[in-house]
Amino acid sequence: MVARDLVVRYEDFTALVGATLTVHYGEALGIVGPNGSGKSTLLKTIAGLLAPSSGELRVLGARPRQLPPGTIAYVPQVEAVDWSFPATVWDVVAMGRFARLRFWQRFGLRDREVVRDALAIVNMSALANRHIAHLSGGQQQRAFVARALAQEPQLLLLDEPTTGVDAATEESLREIVRQLVGRGMPVLMATHDLDRVDEWFDRLLVLDRNVLALGTPREVVESGAYSAIREHTHTHGHLRHDHEPHEAHAAHPEIRR
């Protein structure tokens, strides 16, 4: 995945100024940065949800919207949906298959198998028939990750999956990410949690509307860009919703064609 001089604007606000980065196969790239630094914007642009105003973006050699259905899996923050929706965990994970099915194709045996496997990977098999309204925050997040896995994507984008989840879920998410990366999948993940970044990621991107630093966690720490961010998030970390109007999941109005 290659992005060159990426610029994304909302109305008259520029959320991302000339970001340039490359992500390789079998690599986990962590995106850190203060509130409103454009982490979600970058992920949404790569997912094809936002169109870059200028610059170049290639995912597996094509523009995101020209990729075959199912190529990119995007895991949003859990507040993005209404959890009182009439669906079980199975139903939600099964949606991951929908992009791959044509109108006339039935949800077949193989689809069922993939959904079952995805549930097993996130350790949610026992909860398959539970209504989604009765899930904890960590379980909701794992259901979202399972849905993304059921899609059998070639690129996985995670938007702060560790926010508000228990330690066990965080650990299992980390294991899942490392496993996928081990199998060659590129993973991009925005995170607020700056502890243990070296255990999660191969490389780290420090973002504040443009790329401040990009390199291995050690290189980034040594460059000093990281400590500035660290200080910043420690002071403002708990006020993210006041500071991130453009990263909040307002859904529709943000998606421009």
Partner: protein
């Protein structure tokens, strides 16, 4: 008991009621889950202008209402997507404006040949054979669309952002759904009228939402509640000599409160489930 079924106009009314009941409440499932009830109300009111224009030009009122309803639906979808003006405001302005245009054009006529009451509250007993074919035809088209687009509509209703990221054309589904909604409303106008069509779009589906925990059963139960309301309401109205549209909606409302009561009862009996 079978007395109402002896008349041809009553037979037509029952078939129309059944089609409208199933169609409205099936689409109502999306209306409830996507929170579109205000949009449904808006499209219904706006289509009144189309009805009057069609009448003045001597055209079929379904055609006039249909064109205006579909255009309104697409316009609303466009505003919703662009997000420049609040959706609430847009619908509020559009639907009162279009409704006023209808009343304005109508009031210019010397003779009030259009029965305003029948469009506001419906007159299912006046359904003509050609109307019935139109109702059935459009019902089948919208019904087929629901079947063919089922997975995409479901996914984009639950999580439009992730659906779009995965490669499903969420905006296209939204527009198709709005057009289907517009056709549903046009089909239902004669049965329940402009004022009450919103109730038929919301109430049976809201009742089904109380009693189900998955999407397909919710849709099926909504259709059942809708059909029971329209057919039962029409039947009752024959005996109590009341407006059929009003009786239908009152019956649907009754079903809604019964559903809430049943849900509470089930919780009381089996708190864990």
């Amino acid at each position: 008991m079978v007395e109402p079924f002896h008349y041809a106009f009553m037979q037509r009314a029952f078939v129309a009621a059944l089609a409208v009941g199933i169609l409205c409440s099936t689409m109502g499932t999306y209306v409830i889950l996507r929170k579109l009830s205000f949009i449904g109300d808006g499209i219904a009111h706006a289509s009144f202008a189309g009805i009057v224009i069609a009448y003045l030009r001597g055209a079929n009122f379904y055609i006039g209402a249909g064109i205006v309803a579909v255009l309104t639906a697409i316009g609303i979808g466009f505003v919703h997507r662009r997000g420049q003006i609040s959706l609430d405001t847009t619908i509020g302005v559009l639907f009162t404006g279009m409704f006023a245009l209808g009343v304005f054009l109508m009031s210019q006529q010397r003779s009030y040949a259009i029965d305003l009451q029948s469009f506001l509250f419906g007159d299912i007993l006046a359904v003509q054979p050609q109307d019935l074919w139109l109702i059935l035809g459009l019902s089948i088209i919208v019904g087929l669309a629901v079947v063919v687009l089922f997975r995409g509509l479901l996914y984009t209703t639950f999580d439009p952002i992730v659906a779009q990221a995965s490669g499903i054309a969420a905006p296209a589904y939204e527009y198709m759904l709005l057009v289907m909604l517009a056709l549903t409303i046009v089909v239902s106008l004669q049965a329940v009228g402009i004022v009450l069509v919103a109730a038929l779009l919301v109430t049976p589906a809201a009742a089904a939402y109380q009693l189900t925990s998955r999407f397909p059963p919710m849709m099926a139960l909504a259709a059942l509640f809708g059909a029971a309301s329209t057919v039962g309401g029409l039947y009752l109205s024959y005996y109590v000599r009341a407006s059929s549209g009003a009786t239908i909606v009152l019956l649907a409302t009754l079903l809604f409160f019964a559903s809430i009561a049943l849900k509470r009862l089930r919780r009381a009996i089996a708190p864990a489930a």
